[in-house]
C-alpha cells in the first residue's frame, strides 16, 4: 500500500491545484434516521461529501454502511432527515431517478449479467443516456444506429481506461472475481456519474487485484473528477485513498474527518478493538 500512498502524494508535492475549492458540497445528508420495524439501522446520521473528493465510510459489520449508501441512491427512504444532492433536496426518490441525477454505484456482491460480454455489460450502463426509441433501436436504423456508435465509442474509452481490452468479448461469468469487479466499475462509469458509490470494491481480492483497483479508483477521481463515496474494510486502502473518512457504529456516526484524525480517535479505536468496561 505504501506505493499507492507515494503515488498519490507525489503529484501533491509537485504543486497540485485541488480540482474544486474547499467546501463545495456535492451531497449533503442531514440527520437521517432509518428503521426497519424495531431495528434502528441509522440514527441521526449526517455526512457532507465534498465535490471531487474520495470519501470513505467505515465501521464494523452491521454498522449501517450499506444502508447509508442505499439511502443515498434511493433504495431506502429514511424516516427522518433530508438528503441534498447538487443543491436539490429530495423527499422520496426512486433509484432510477437517483441514477438519472448522476449517482452510480457498484455492489458488495457482483451484480452483472453473467451471460453477457464485458462490452455488453458496460453498454447497459449507457442505458439512461440512450434517447432513441425502442423500435428504432431494435431495427438499428437511422438515429438509433448513430447513437449506438457514439455510446460504443464512449464505452471503448472506459475499456481502455480500465485496461480490459483482452476480455472485451468474454462473457463475464467466465471471468475471475477481480475482473468482474472491474467490469462492474466500468458499467458504473459508463453512466458518467457525478457521484460514484462503491460498496466494498476490494472485498475478497488478492493483493495485486486490490492494488489495481486502488489505482483505478484514484485514476477515476483524477481523470474524470468523479466524487467517490466508498465502503471498505481494508484500513490500509481506506487510509491511503481517502480525503475524508466517516465512521459508523451501531447506526450512529462516531467520527468524521481526515484519515489521520480518524485513525487516532479513541471512539474509533474502541469500536474496532473493543474496550474494557
Amino acid at each position: 500500500m505504501t506505493d499507492i500512498a507515494a503515488a498519490s502524494a507525489a503529484p501533491a508535492a509537485a504543486g497540485t491545484v485541488p480540482v474544486t475549492t474547499e467546501g463545495e458540497i456535492l451531497l449533503n445528508v442531514e440527520h437521517i434516521s432509518l428503521s426497519f420495524g424495531a431495528v434502528q439501522a441509522l440514527t441521526d446520521v449526517s455526512v457532507a461529501i465534498p465535490k471531487g473528493r474520495i470519501f470513505s465510510i467505515i465501521g464494523p459489520n452491521g454498522a449501517g454502511k450499506t444502508s447509508l449508501l442505499n439511502c443515498i441512491n434511493g433504495v431506502y427512504h429514511p424516516q427522518k432527515g433530508r438528503i441534498t444532492f447538487k443543491g436539490q433536496t429530495r423527499s422520496q426518490m426512486k433509484p432510477h431517478e437517483a441514477a438519472a441525477q448522476g449517482i452510480a454505484r457498484t455492489f458488495q456482491n457482483v451484480a452483472l449479467f453473467r451471460g453477457m460480454t464485458t462490452l455488453d455489460n458496460i453498454m447497459t450502463g449507457r442505458n439512461l443516456k440512450m434517447r432513441s426509441n425502442f423500435l428504432l433501436q431494435a431495427l438499428w436504423w437511422g438515429p438509433a444506429r448513430k447513437e449506438e456508435l457514439r455510446h460504443r465509442e464512449f464505452v471503448e474509452h472506459i475499456i481502455d481506461f480500465l485496461e480490459i481490452e483482452a476480455i472485451r468479448k468474454t462473457p463475464v461469468g467466465r471471468l475471475p472475481y477481480g475482473l468482474q469487479k472491474r467490469v462492474e466499475l466500468g458499467r458504473a462509469l459508463a453512466a458518467e456519474p457525478d457521484l460514484l458509490l462503491l460498496d466494498e470494491p476490494m472485498a475478497g481480492m488478492n493483493l495485486e487485484e486490490k492494488e489495481d483497483m486502488c489505482r483505478f479508483v484514484l485514476d477515476t477521481n483524477d481523470e474524470f473528477g468523479t466524487t467517490i463515496a466508498l465502503i471498505e474494510h481494508d484500513m490500509g486502502v481506506v487510509m491511503d485513498l481517502s480525503d475524508h473518512v466517516a465512521v459508523l457504529d451501531y447506526g450512529r456516526k462516531i467520527a468524521d474527518g481526515p484519515p489521520d484524525v480518524v485513525r487516532n480517535d479513541p471512539d474509533v479505536i474502541a469500536a474496532y478493538l473493543g474496550v474494557s468496561h
Binding site: P11, A12, I159, E211, E223
Partner: protein, 657 residues
C-alpha cells in the same frame, strides 16, 4: 545492377529509406494500431509527416548529432517512429525493455550516457524519474500517453504530441533543416545501440551501423521475396534486435505494413484480426499454440477427436513433402486436400495463421514434434540462429531444405566456421561495429580478422547445416570425463508439455542431476483429468503422481541420451521438482527466459548438494520478488527422486538410490 547499387548508396540509412517510401508507397498503410477497439492506420506519407514533426521537435529541444536517446515501452507506432525521428537528426536510439525494473534501466541509461528518454506511459516515466538523480546527463523525458500525467509539473517532462507541435513550428522557421540533417546521415554511422540481455554480468551495448542493418535486411528481403504487401504483427519487445530487424529494418526496406496489438494481453486476438503473412515467434509461442490445440481437442466430441487424429496423421506423413515440393502420391494429395478443408484450414484460421507464408522461430531450439506439426499443416516454419552482434541472423533454414534438428546453412553473405575448441564463429555484413565503451569485450568477441566469436558450441553437418549444442562455456565434463551439455539436456526435457523449465547439473560431479519446473497449465489439466486435487503450484509440484509424471519424461530423455555414445554417460540419475517457477524478477532467468546458471547455483546450493547426497528430501527457503518489487520468503519441503538410466542396448539399468 548499377541501378541497384546506386539505389543502395542513395538509401543507405533508414531516414533516407523512409523518405523514399513516402514517395514510392505513399498511400499504402505503413502502420496500424488497434485502439479503442478499431484498427487505426497511417500511410507511409502520413507516418513520414508525423516523424518529420517529431524529429524537428527533438531538434527544437536541443538534441544534436551523436546524442543517445532511450526508447522505453511496448510496441506502439509512435515508439517505432521515434527511432526514425532520432536517426533523422543524427541521434542514436537506445531501446530498453519495457519490463525492466528501474535499477536495470538505470545501468543502461547511465552507461549509454542517455540525454533524453522517450517513454510510453506513466509507468515508464515513474521508473525513469525514480533513478533520475543517478543520471546527471539525462535532461529530458518525453511521454507518449498523457494518462495519469496531469499532475506532473517537472519542467523537463514533455508530451510527445506537444513536441511534435513544437517541431512543426521549428520546421516552418528553419526551411531545409530536416532535409539537410537526413542527408548528413551515412551508412557507416551507428544506427542503434542495442543492449544485450546478458546471461553473465552487466548488459553490453552492441553498436550496429546503418550498413549492418540495411544490408542484412536487404539480403533477407531478397531471399524470402518479401514485398510491400506483407502484413506483420509487432508484438515482441522492441528492444530486441529480432523485432528491430523485422518491424523496423525490413519494414523500411520492403515497405510492408506493421501492425501493433491493442495491448500485450490481446496479442492472440489481434493475430486473428490481422492474419500476418510473415511471423516470428520464440519457440514458447509455437509450443503454446500446440498445447492449446491439444487441450481443446481433449474436450472436443469423439467424432472431432477421431477426425483430428486421422488427418494429423495424414499431414505428418505427407504434409512436409508437399510443402517442400517433393513428389507425393495422388491419393495422399487428395487426402491432404480433404484434411485442409476439414481440419488444417479451420485450425490455422482459428489461430490467425491462415495467410502465413513464412514463420520463423529462434532463440532456443524448438521440439522436433512441434516443428514438424506446423510444417505438416502447411505452415513454412523455419528456424534461424543469430544474435544481437550479427544484426539478427547468422544461419537460416532455406525453403525446401529444412532439417528439424539444425538451424540451417549460413545466411546469404555470411561465412560460418567452427574453431578447434568447437566454438561457432562467423563473418557477416551484419557483424557489429563494437561494444559501446567496452573495448576489452569488443576485442574478446571480434578478432583481428573480422570473425565474431559467438560463445556457442556447435557442429556443421554433412549438408553444411549448423547444429548448435550449447553455450561453449557451459559445456563441461563429469568427473569421469563424459561430455556434459546442460542446455542440450534441458531443451530435450522442455520439449515435454509438462516441463516448463529445467536446469541440469553435472560439471565436475560424478553424475548428472536436474531441477524441473512443471508447466502449471498442462500439469493442472492432467491432474484434473485424473482427479488429483491440489491447492496451489507448490502443492501440485510436490505430489507423488506429478513426480511419477516427471520421472517418465526424464527417463525418456535418458533413453534418447543413451543412443548417443558421447552423451550416454550424462543421463540424469536424480532430480527434484521445484516448488516455485524460475522467474526473471528473481534474477533466475534473463528477460528472454534463459537460465542464469551462476545465480541458480548460488541460490539453490543446499538443493544441489542434496541431489548429490543420499537424502530423500530437502527443505528450502527462497527469497521471491513480487511484481511490485517487494520481497518475501517461501518455504517448502522437496522430495528428491531417482530416475532410471539406460545402457547402450536400451535396457533400463537399476534406478540409482
Amino acid at each position: 545492377m548499377s541501378d541497384v547499387q546506386a539505389s543502395l548508396r542513395a538509401h543507405d540509412t533508414f531516414p533516407k529509406l523512409l523518405l523514399r517510401n513516402a514517395v514510392t508507397f505513399g498511400d499504402r498503410p505503413a502502420f496500424r494500431e488497434k485502439d479503442y477497439g478499431i484498427w487505426q492506420s497511417w500511410t507511409w506519407a502520413e507516418m513520414s509527416a508525423e516523424i518529420r514533426a517529431f524529429a524537428c521537435g527533438l531538434a527544437a529541444l536541443g538534441v544534436g548529432r551523436g546524442d543517445r536517446i532511450a526508447i522505453i515501452g511496448q510496441n506502439r507506432p509512435q515508439l517505432y517512429w521515434s527511432f526514425d525521428a532520432i536517426q533523422c537528426i543524427g541521434g542514436v536510439p537506445v531501446p530498453l525493455y519495457a519490463d525492466s525494473v528501474a535499477d536495470e534501466m538505470a545501468y543502461v541509461l547511465e552507461h549509454a550516457e542517455v540525454r533524453m528518454a522517450i517513454c510510453e506511459d506513466q509507468e515508464q516515466v515513474d521508473k525513469v524519474l525514480s533513478v533520475m538523480d543517478r543520471l546527471p546527463v539525462l535532461e529530458t523525458v518525453i511521454h507518449k500517453d498523457r494518462r495519469g500525467m496531469r499532475h506532473y509539473r517537472q519542467p523537463f517532462l514533455h508530451a510527445l504530441d506537444d513536441v511534435q507541435d513544437r517541431g512543426r513550428d521549428h520546421d516552418r522557421r528553419h526551411a531545409g533543416f530536416f532535409e539537410g540533417e537526413v542527408a548528413k546521415g551515412k551508412g557507416g554511422d551507428v544506427a542503434i545501440i542495442a543492449y544485450t540481455s546478458g546471461t553473465t554480468g552487466n548488459p553490453k551495448g552492441v553498436m550496429l551501423s546503418f550498413d549492418n542493418l540495411t544490408t542484412s535486411c536487404r539480403l533477407a528481403v531478397e531471399m524470402e521475396g518479401l514485398t510491400e504487401r506483407e502484413e506483420i504483427l509487432a508484438y515482441l519487445p522492441l528492444a530486441w534486435v529480432g523485432d528491430h530487424f523485422f518491424s523496423y529494418g525490413q519494414h523500411h526496406v520492403a515497405g510492408f505494413t506493421v501492425n501493433c496489438p491493442e495491448s500485450s494481453d490481446t496479442v492472440m486476438m489481434d493475430l486473428r484480426d490481422i492474419g500476418p503473412t510473415s511471423f516470428i515467434a520464440p519457440p514458447a509461442i509455437f509450443e503454446g499454440f500446440l498445447t492449446q490445440i491439444q487441450i481443446r481437442m481433449e474436450d472436443a466430441s469423439r467424432v472431432k477427436q477421431r477426425l483430428y487424429r486421422y488427418f494429423t496423421g495424414v499431414a505428418r506423413r505427407c504434409g512436409p513433402a508437399i510443402l517442400d515440393g517433393r513428389p507425393v502420391s495422388a491419393g495422399d494429395r487428395l487426402l491432404y486436400a480433404l484434411g485442409e478443408l476439414l481440419i488444417y484450414g479451420p485450425l490455422k484460421n482459428n489461430l490467425g495463421l491462415s495467410r502465413m507464408r513464412i514463420a520463423y522461430t529462434g532463440g532456443a531450439p524448438l521440439g522436433e514434434d512441434v516443428f514438424s506439426f506446423y510444417r505438416s499443416m502447411g505452415i513454412n516454419l523455419k528456424q534461424l540462429y543469430g544474435q544481437t552482434e550479427s544484426s539478427a541472423y547468422v544461419c537460416i533454414q532455406r525453403n525446401g531444405g529444412v532439417k528439424p534438428d539444425t538451424v540451417g546453412p549460413p545466411a546469404p553473405g555470411v561465412d560460418v566456421r567452427i574453431t578447434d575448441e568447437g566454438e561457432v564463429i562467423y563473418k557477416s555484413p551484419g557483424a557489429f561495429v563494437g561494444y559501446f565503451k567496452n573495448d576489452e569485450a569488443t576485442r574478446e568477441t571480434l578478432d583481428d580478422e573480422g570473425w565474431v566469436h559467438t560463445g556457442d558450441a556447435g557442429i556443421i553437418d554433412d549438408d553444411g547445416h549448423l547444429k548448435v549444442i550449447d553455450r561453449a562455456k557451459d559445456v563441461g565434463r563429469l568427473n569421469d570425463g563424459t561430455l556434459f551439455a546442460p542446455q542440450y539436456i534441458e531443451n530435450k526435457l522442455k520439449f515435454f508439455p509438462y516441463v516448463k523449465e529445467a536446469v541440469a547439473h553435472g560439471v565436475d560431479r560424478d553424475y548428472a542431476t536436474a531441477f524441473v519446473n512443471i508447466d502449471l497449465e498442462a500439469v493442472s489439466n492432467w491432474a484434473e483429468k485424473r482427479g488429483i486435487s491440489y491447492t496451489n503450484y507448490t502443492d501440485l509440484a510436490s505430489r507423488a503422481e506429478v513426480y511419477d509424471l516427471v520421472r517418465g519424461c526424464i527417463e525418456q530423455v535418458n533413453a534418447a541420451l543413451a543412443g548417443d555414445s558421447a552423451l550416454a554417460g550424462s543421463q540424469i540419475r536424480r532430480f527434484l521438482v521445484l516448488h516455485k517457477e524460475l522467474d526473471a524478477d528473481d534474477g533466475e532467468l534473463t528477460r528472454t527466459r534463459k537460465v542464469r546458471r551462476r545465480i541458480i547455483a548460488e541460490r539453490y546450493k543446499p538443493m544441489i548438494d542434496a541431489l548429490y547426497s543420499d537424502a530423500g528430501n530437502v527443505s528450502v527457503e527462497t527469497q521471491v520478488t513480487f511484481e511490485d518489487g517487494r520481497t518475501g520468503t517461501m518455504r517448502a519441503d522437496l522430495d528428491i527422486s531417482p530416475a532410471a538410466t539406460y545402457g547402450a542396448g536400451g535396457e533400463p539399468s537399476a534406478r540409482a538410490a
